[in-house]
Amino acid sequence: MLIRPKAGILDPQGQAVQRALPALGFDGVANVHVGRLVELDVEDPEQLPAMCERLLANPLIEDYEIIEQA
């Protein structure tokens, strides 16, 4: 599961990275957001959205994306 700050929520970590990259010579960087990755093995992938809604993400401030690998 990829969890990232909702669009429009101030993301100071993303901003800090966005400021740091040009200082290292990486120009043309925009829209940096820092989220987190939760990896798990699950028997029933149907449960994943509920896991995100209830624990892994806070829907008020975070979006999540479920990426399944067989």
Binding site: I9, L10, P12, Q13, A16, L55, L56, N58, L60, I61
Partner: protein, 216 residues
């Protein structure tokens, strides 16, 4: 009256909250695995780093057995005070609106701040003076709520330590019986530490409880 102070693994300010509450009433610690609130009149969810603040501050603590009882206690009108990590837990558990985000400067901040009490009509602030000097200490204290909320405390102009929306430092739920704040009133109860302003919040709770539940 009796306060119950919840202790999760990783809670740090539990004993401080207990000591502060004990200045106005009785106070005992409630273990996170126990569902029994032991007949307390008010619950304090104290500060610290419950479950290491892993995943998100407060995200795991809200599922502790004791929190089920706290949610029920709050639904029945019981007074619940969440301080710092406790505020985060109350937001995560849905007892309070909004969420706490990482400070705009990304760092932990300890600072004695001035607070404006903007609502005295709550069980938590009825005996408070117009302003309070109370320390904050947190990394994740920037309050955010997409909808209007009932604000009780604001950081005084120039005192917002974390980029909180509209200088919000503390809010109550619609029913008015659940209060969360980022500043630590339990660390402003003794003149030797520089301020006794936090005591007014504990005294307000005592006053509210004593009115509601007549002494037998």
């Amino acid at each position: 009256m009796k306060f119950g102070v919840i202790r999760f693994p990783g809670t740090c300010d539990d004993v401080d909250a207990q000591l502060a509450a004990a200045r106005v009433g009785e106070a005992e610690l409630l273990w996170h695995r126990d569902r029994d609130l032991k007949g307390v009149d008010a619950v304090i969810v104290p500060g610290g780093f419950s479950y290491g603040d892993y995943l998100r501050a407060g995200a795991i603590a809200r599922f502790a057995p004791v929190m089920e009882s706290v949610v029920e206690f709050a639904r029945e009108g019981g007074l619940v005070l969440g301080i710092c990590n406790g505020f985060q837990i109350l937001c995560e558990s849905g007892l309070l609106p909004g969420a706490l985000l990482v400070n705009n400067h990304l760092k932990f901040v300890f600072r004695q701040v001035q607070l404006d009490v903007v609502d005295h009509n709550t069980p938590f602030t009825r005996t408070c003076p117009p302003t309070l000097s109370i320390p904050v200490k947190h990394t994740t204290g920037r309050y955010y709520a997409p909808e209007p909320v009932q604000v009780v405390l604001r950081y005084a102009p120039g005192h917002n330590p974390n980029g909180s929306q509209d200088d919000i430092a503390g809010v109550v739920n619609n029913a008015g019986n659940v209060f969360g704040l980022m500043p630590h009133p339990e660390h402003a109860v003794d003149a030797l530490t520089g301020s006794t302003d936090g005591l007014a919040i504990f005294e307000s709770i005592r006053a509210a409880v004593s009115e509601r539940i007549p002494v037998a």
